[in-house]
Subunit: 368 residues, 2 copies
C-alpha cells in the first residue's frame, strides 16, 4: 500500500519509519523542500491548496492521512474524492476550531473550562464579566505551542488582548486551577476496535511541551485514566474516528476537564516508540490501513524529553541507561523541536534517575 | 553524519531504519535499481567495481560499511582511501574465504570441523582419505544459503563433486555430528568496547535460515554461550573489529565448533529489533560512528521467522500476540527472503504458542 501524508515534519517522518517494516510506501506533500520526512521518502513540494500539487501527490495512493491539524479542510475534501482520508474530516474540522471542539466536548457531557465565543469587543467584556478573570483570549484557529493566546489577568487587559488578536475569530476560556496536565492517546480502527495507551503526564514551558511521562500506575492515576478513557471513547465513537487521537486533559481535582484534541499522532505519545509494544505511529497506520491494532502495553515506566532549539551530545544521551535518541534531521533554530529522547526503565526509581540526566542535558542545550 | 552502505538489500534497509532516529543519513551503492534500501534512501545504482559509481557514492560520506560479505575487497580498498570503512578490511577478506576463516579460527584456538584445502583432483582424494566421509566439498568463496556445496557421502562421490565445483577454489570440510546450530551476534566499538547478544539457536531448511530463537537461559545454554563469547571475543580482538560480527557455532556435544563468520549484521539477529533494548542494526551504526554501544539486554524470550518466497496475510500475523511484521519491499520469488516476523513474549511458554502460529502461517506461504 502507498500512503500519502499531508505535512512532512517529524510526525510524518516517524510515521514512515514505523510503516516501512509493514511494507507500506509513503509520499508526502509539504511546502518545504527540506522537510524532515522528505529525507526518507518521496516528497511532493507544494502548497496544500495547490491543485496540481495535490493531484501529483494523490496519484496511486491507497490511503491518505495528515500529520498536523492545520491542513486546510478544502484540501482534504478534494483529496477525499480520489482516496480515502483518515482521520475523518469532521474530526479535523472540529479540532481546527476551539469553539467547535468545546461544543463537541459539551455535547458529549465532557467537562471543559468555561468558555464564550468572542466576535465583538463587547462580547469580550460580557464574557469576562460572566466567566471572571483570569481568563485566556485565544484564537479559535491555528493556535499551537502557546501561540495565538493572550492572558487576561483582569478586565483592564481586555483592550490589549482584543487589539492583539482581533484579526482572528476568538474564544475566551476561563482559567481553571488544575493539578496536572495529561493526555490520552487512543487509536480506533475501521471496524470500531479501540485501544488506549496509558495516561501521560505532560510538562510545558513557554507553551511548548518539554516532558511527557507515562503516569505512574497509582490508584489516583488509574482513576484519572478511567475518566479520560470514558471521555475519549465517546469522542472516538461520536466521530466514527479512524486513526490515532490525542486528547489533552487537566486534572481539576474532583474531575478531569478536556482541554483540546489532536486528530493525529501527538508529541506526548513519542515515548511509545520504545515504551510500548506498538508505537502510536504503527497503530495510526494500522488503523488507517484497516489492519488489526497492536498492543498498547508498556515495556516499563517510560518518558520523553523534547529537544528544543539545540541538541545535546548524542554520546552523552546514549550513555544514559534506557535512553534512546530521536533526531528529526532539522537545522537548529530557537524554539524548534529538533528531536526527543525516550527513556524506558524497569521501575519508577530508575526512570527518575535516567530522566534527571536526560533533562539536565536537554535543558542545558535547549533554546526557546 | 552521512553513512555509505555497499549493498542495498534488506540489511541495508534495516540499517537505515535504525539510523535515521540517530540523525544519520544514508547513501547506498547497489547494482539493482529496485533494491529494498533504495526505496527509503539515496541509491547510487552501479557495480561495486565501477570507478565512477564508487566516486559518486563516496562523495561527502563520513563513514562507510557493507551489508554483505561478497563485496569485492578491491572496492573497499579504493573506498578506504577517501572514507573510513568498517568492519576492517581484514575481517571482510577473511570472511570471504572459508580457508582463511578456518585458519583464523585455528590460530585463535577455536575448534572447527576438520578441513583441507583442495586445489587439485588428487588433493580431494587425499583429503577424503584423511578426513573421512561424509564430508562437504565447498567453494572457498561466494557460498551462501547452502549454495556452492556438494555433500560427499563416500569416496565414489568425489568425481561428481569435483566436476561440479572445479572452476572454483575449494575446501573439504568433515561433517561433524552436532546437536544444534547457534550464532552469537557481537558488536565492538572503535575504543574496544564489546557487547554480545544472547546466544541464538537457528533452524535451517534447504540451506536457508528459517527460524532463529534466543536460546532459553538454561544452564546448558549459558555454558554454550560462555564458550561462544570466549571464541568471538578473541576474533573481535584479533581483527581489531569495529561493528557487528556474527559467528555461527555448532554444539558438538563436549565443545562448540565455529562454522563461519559474517562481518555484518546477520539474519539470525533480526529478532533484536523488538527483542532487545538496542537492535543489532543500531549497535552496528553506533560502533562505526564512534558512538557508545547500547544495551543488548533482551525484552523477553524472542524469536524470528523468515518469510521465504511468499508472505502470509499481514492481518493474521499482526493478530498473533507479541508478533511484529517486517517486510523488505521485494517482489515475491521462490527462495527469496521477503521479510521476517519477530516475536517477543513474557515467557518461554507464551513464545512457543505465538511462534507456533507464526510458523504455521509462514511455512504455509513459503516457497523454496
Amino acid at each position: 500500500m502507498r500512503i500519502g501524508v499531508l505535512g512532512a515534519g517529524q510526525l510524518g517522518r516517524m510515521l514512515a519509519l514505523a510503516g516501512y517494516p509493514l511494507g507500506l510506501q509513503f509520499r508526502f506533500l509539504d511546502p518545504g523542500f527540506d522537510a524532515p520526512a522528505g529525507q526518507i521518502a518521496e516528497l511532493v513540494a507544494g502548497r496544500y491548496t495547490e491543485r496540481a500539487a495535490l493531484e501529483r501527490f494523490s496519484l496511486g495512493l491507497d490511503a491518505a492521512t495528515y500529520e498536523f491539524e492545520s491542513v486546510p479542510v478544502a484540501a482534504i475534501e478534494s483529496l477525499s474524492l480520489v482516496v480515502p482520508v483518515f482521520p475523518p474530516i469532521e474530526a479535523l474540522a472540529t479540532a481546527q476550531d476551539r469553539l467547535f471542539e468545546k461544543r463537541l466536548f459539551g455535547e458529549l457531557g465532557i467537562a471543559t473550562a468555561p468558555y464564550r465565543n468572542v466576535e465583538t469587543r463587547s462580547d469580550l467584556d460580557k464574557a469576562i464579566a460572566e466567566i471572571g478573570s483570569p481568563a485566556i483570549l485565544k484564537t479559535r484557529r491555528l493556535g499551537y505551542d502557546g501561540k495565538g493566546q493572550y492572558l487576561i489577568e483582569d478586565a483592564s487587559d481586555c483592550e490589549a488582548a482584543w487589539n492583539q488578536l482581533r484579526s482572528n475569530a476568538m474564544i475566551l476560556e476561563g482559567v481553571v486551577p488544575f493539578r496536572g496536565e495529561y493526555s490520552l492517546i487512543s487509536a480506533r480502527s475501521k471496524n470500531g476496535e479501540v485501544v488506549h495507551y496509558p495516561l501521560v503526564a505532560n510538562e510545558h514551558k513557554h507553551g511548548i511541551l518539554r516532558v511527557s511521562r507515562m503516569a505512574p500506575r497509582t490508584d489516583e492515576m488509574l482513576r484519572l485514566e478511567a475518566q479520560a478513557i470514558d471521555a475519549s471513547n465517546s469522542v472516538l465513537e461520536r466521530l466514527q474516528y479512524v486513526g490515532v487521537l490525542a486528547v489533552e486533559y487537566f486534572d481539576a481535582g474532583t474531575r478531569i476537564i478536556a482541554n483540546e484534541m489532536a486528530p493525529r499522532v501527538h508529541n506526548s505519545g513519542h515515548w511509545t516508540i520504545e515504551g510500548s509494544v506498538t508505537s502510536q505511529f504503527a497503530n495510526h497506520l494500522r488503523a488507517i490501513c484497516g489492519m488489526p491494532l497492536g498492543s498498547t502495553a508498556s515495556r516499563g515506566p517510560s518518558a520523553m524529553v523534547n529537544l528544543i532549539g539545540g541538541v545535546p551530545s548524542a554520546d552523552e544521551i546514549l550513555r544514559i541507561e534506557g535512553a534512546s535518541l530521536h533526531l528529526y534531521g532539522k537545522e537548529p533554530r530557537a524554539g524548534r523541536k529538533l528531536g526527543h529522547v525516550t527513556v524506558v526503565a524497569p521501575d519508577e526509581a530508575s526512570l527518575n534517575r535516567s530522566l534527571e540526566k536526560v533533562c539536565a542535558l536537554a535543558f542545558a542545550t535547549s533554546q526557546g
